[in-house]
């Protein structure tokens, strides 16, 4: 169970989601959107929404990073419930986010791997994820349980 995510709004095709971070600065609308890249491959983007413009390099410092990350995780589950055969690429846009995403996968490896197969990209090739390695990006797909 993911702890205390924000309520999010989902699009008709479950390809974009909006929620509002509530913290020290106030309410900040956030966008999580998924792009289809052919076959069953998808890419995910995440950022702040300001006057309808998305910004994926913003650092909002609203004091609720854990709840925001939990909400994104919940949204990813929602996306996979609608697109169960998908392979989702999670690609950081800068070095700071690359470190953050690696840290998240390392810390939550045991819980993520109960539902997802995880791969990491190193030197332009994907390999089975290991928490001991540092990756440029990640791919996850649902593990189908019988």
């Amino acid at each position: 169970m993911i702890d205390n995510p924000y309520i999010f709004l989902s699009s008709r095709k479950s390809t974009w989601f909006v929620f509002e971070s509530e913290g020290m600065i106030g309410k900040i609308p956030k966008l999580v959107t998924f792009e289809h890249y052919g076959e069953n491959r998808w890419n995910v983007g995440f950022g702040d929404l300001k006057r309808g413009i998305a910004n994926d390099s913003a650092i909002s410092n609203n004091g609720d990073v854990s709840r925001v990350l939990n909400t994104i995780a919940q949204i990813i589950y929602e996306f996979f419930s609608e697109h169960p055969d998908s392979i989702l690429q999670i690609k950081p846009i800068d070095e700071k986010r690359k470190k953050l995403y690696n840290l998240i996968f390392q810390r939550h490896f045991d819980s993520i791997r109960t539902d997802f197969q995880i791969k990491g990209l190193r030197e332009e090739a994907f390999e089975a994820y290991s928490p001991d390695e540092f990756y440029d990006s990640f791919e996850i797909s649902l593990i189908f349980k019988t």
């Binding site: 995510p5 709004l9 008709r12 909006v18 959107t33 983007g45 846009i93 539902d115 649902l142």
Partner: protein, 108 residues
Amino acid sequence: MKQQKKSLSFDDALQDSAYEHLWDTLRYLETAKFADLFPEKHLLTLKSLTAQKLKALHRESPFSPLKDVVTHALENLPDDTSAALVLEMTRFTIEKWESMTEKAVTAA
């Protein structure tokens, strides 16, 4: 999957005055493209996927003619890819291929 659903649909949100401040944004998002919303990430992902394709092609067929390499690399670009992005990806493909070829020659 044991996660509880904690969402509100697009249509329900447009009926709920608590989300009135987001209505214009939600309507815009329903027609917006990922490439417009996150252009930098869109380009990074295209380059990453292309680099993987080029690496696989170089392993299989390192002496492919450059025009075949470019065709192979760009064939999966979305139909509505802009001219600027096609140019950018063509340049990226050629530079990447030449770099891989140089490395292979040096290694040999």
